[in-house]
Structure formats: structure tokens, C-alpha cells
Symmetry: C2
Subunit: 258 residues, 2 copies
Amino acid sequence: MVFQSSTYGKVLVLDGVIQLTERDECAYQEMITHLQLCSIPNPKKVLVIGGGDGGVLREVSRHSSVEKIDICEIDKMVVDVSKQFFPKVAVGFDDPRVTLHIGDGVAFLKAVPEGTYDAVIVDSSDPVGPAQELFEKPFFESIAKALRPGGVVCTQAESIWLHMHIIEDIVANCRQIFKGSVNYAWTTVPTYPSGIIGFMLCSTEGPPVDFKHPINPIDADDSHVKTKGPLKFYNSEIHSAAFCLPSFARKVIDAKAD
Amino acid sequence: MVFQSSTYGKVLVLDGVIQLTERDECAYQEMITHLQLCSIPNPKKVLVIGGGDGGVLREVSRHSSVEKIDICEIDKMVVDVSKQFFPKVAVGFDDPRVTLHIGDGVAFLKAVPEGTYDAVIVDSSDPVGPAQELFEKPFFESIAKALRPGGVVCTQAESIWLHMHIIEDIVANCRQIFKGSVNYAWTTVPTYPSGIIGFMLCSTEGPPVDFKHPINPIDADDSHVKTKGPLKFYNSEIHSAAFCLPSFARKVIDAKAD
């Protein structure tokens, strides 16, 4: 469903759950992408699982070092609806580095040769129904395999206000599978449940990645601004701040992560 | 109105607007209080305008240096309802250092001798109806007068997602009146409009106050935990992080603040 809201502009809804609005999509798309890509030097090959609206692609393509962007979206209608109603989001598909695969992300990842990607972004819906598998261990194992040593993954990871039990499980799973580092970050997205969304940021064994201190800033290089418009939300300060957790969440997550 | 919600516990509503819920009140009360009191050495005299639910009092009284806490609340029913339905919030009134004044905060402040307080907290409702004056210049001038040199004020300051035009005005007013420093911070409160709330943090001319780097940490001293329970939300990391703004807000606020 797509509808026009009085405060948030056009809204995209899947299975009764708000996926994005014109007003606040910048927060989600910019943070899920740049928290990760600004933390490693020269990302070249990036895979997006889900993200059929194109917003994450728009953000990935701001990075001039990137040579290849694969996206695997299970639902072609999301792509079509986004192109029709959210052109400023779907603009991500215009980048010639993008290859769109329509299909199951789990199956796609299994077929990826070992060590292919520098970064994987999992832009999924909630862990009920079709996206359930994207929060489970075998899926994380496939991601770890698809990444180069010291490669990074960022997955949508729910709300610390509402889903601490789910987050606890995700963190524990990631801790077993990603031998580099395992971190939790969050940001404000007014139209998501409880007004925030979290991200798991992990790296595989290899060159160490310090997600909390970005080494590949995007703020300075503004060649991407001409085609995609300026960054609205992300900057290096809010990058580091996103890893600071309220005490109630820190207690649970620190017990499982590093 | 008070009602029981399935996810957020008991909810307090004034004039149709949610004021607090049992689940997320910790974020608001702890941040509006400690962002300020942890930024100055040895706060002794504190004034709370509004805050009749008692939650801010609970947080102020965690600071052992504090000797006197005045509160001026316009609506006695808020106090009574909080004591009846929100005992863990109203516990703030039990502290012997607290003196409750029922009346108009604007008039109360005018009668305060110059330089009385180390800190003033304005825990108001939105700038429509009864709280309108609490966002205007004459009120800020009264606060500045009531504070000692290098004294601090923290006021509820709406949402960067929804109220940038109001925030712009508040920042411009504060910049004129508070000659120490003027800063904007924000935090997550799921049940407030857009899921966040902002705070103006200002100091008067005098010993400089660096709000972004707390020098009076409360994390370590835990004598207050016995009576008030542990801090759920606030810690020194999230204190500093609260001042990191999304780019769209930084652009507007930095133009007016420091």
C-alpha cells in the first residue's frame, strides 16, 4: 500500500507495516549504509539483501570507491512501486554499477563464491513471515562466507525499546559467527515502532574494523551530491554517537558483544 | 487521563497529549535532569518549573550535593494523580530537600532573588495553551536572572523532526539571553510525537560550562540507588552522544548556537 500522510509525505506499507516515508527515510537509508561503508577503506563490492525500494542503493552509490553493487530483492513489486511513487528513493537503481536480482536472498547468498564482497547490507522487514530466516544463524553463516577477511555486514536489528529479547539472540548469534567485531547501533526513525531502529554491525576475521570511529568519511567528498542530493541525516559525529546505548540496553548487549 | 496500555504500562495524558508512560519515562526524566546537573560541579540549589509528576525531582535528588529543590507546578491535580497512579515517579516528592509550590512558574520566577539557583529545569508541556509563555523571551530572561553566574538551564525543546521552526526561534532567543553557552541535545522517547524529544541547555555568563563533556558523573556514586532504583537510561556516553545532531538539524541549529 502507498498513501499520502499529512506530516510524513508519501508512505510505503508492506503487510500492514510502514517500510518508509518520504520525510524520515533519510535516517534509515543513510545510517544502515554509511555506518558500515564509512568504517572500511575503499569498499569495492557491495551486496544488498532486500532494500527493493532503492534507498540503500542510492546511499551505497555515493561511495566513489564502489565498483559493483548487487541487490537481491524477493519482491519485484516493491521495486516497481518504488519507481512509480518514490522516484527520489528509487533513483538508486539508476546507477550503472547496480545489478538487480529478483529472488530469495538466502538462496542467492548460498551461491556466492567465498570472499566475494567487502560489505553486505541486510535491509529486511521484521523477523516474522518472509524475513524470519534473515535473522537466523545459517543466514549469518552464509554472509560471513560471502565476505572477504575483514569484510563487514550491517543488518536491520529492531528496537531496544520493544525487542530486547530478539536483539539478545541476534547479538549472541553474531558473536559466534563474526570473529572480527560485533556492535549494536541505533538511530531515530519516527515512523518505525517506538520511533527508533537498531543495526548490527559485524566484521569477519581479518584486518580489524573499528565501527565506532569511521575512517572513510563521506562528508567531505561531495561529487555524489549532484545526482543524489545532499546527505540529510548522516555525519561523522552522529556515526559515533549511534553506538552509545542507554544503560538498560548496554547491560544486555555488552554482556553478549564487545 | 490515566490509562493502562498493553506495551507501555500506565500512561498519563494532559489535554489529549501523552506526558509520560511507565516504560519510557526514564529516558525523559533522566536526560532532562542529568544532561544538566552532570555538567556543573556541586549543584546545590535547583528549581524545577512544571514537572508535577515528580519524575524530575526523583532524578535531581540522586545528586548528593543538592541541598534545596524548589518545584513550581501550576496544576495540583498532576501531583495528586501522579502520587496515586505513578508511585515510582512521584517518589521524587518524598525527598526532604523538596519544597512544592503550586502556582504559575512565570510569576514564581519573577519573585526569585537574583542569582539564587545553580540550575533550573523547565519540564513543561508543548508551547500551546498554558505552557506557551515558557518558550518566550521574557521567561528566559527571568531564568537567566534567577541563575548564579555560570548557572545552567535545561528546557524541554520539542522535536527536530516536527518542530524545526519552533526550535529555531527558541535557539535564537536563548542565544540572545544566555551569554555562557547555548546547546541543543535530543533523546529517544517512543511515546512523544516523532519518538524523540529535544532539550535546550544553556549557561549564564560566568565560569564556562561544557555541556558536551560531563564533569560531575553520577554513574559512579550509587548511594541513591537504594531509594530510587538504578538509572535505567542515562550514562556518560549517551550524555555526550545526545549533542550529536543529524545534518538537517545541525545546519539550522549551528547557524544560531555555538
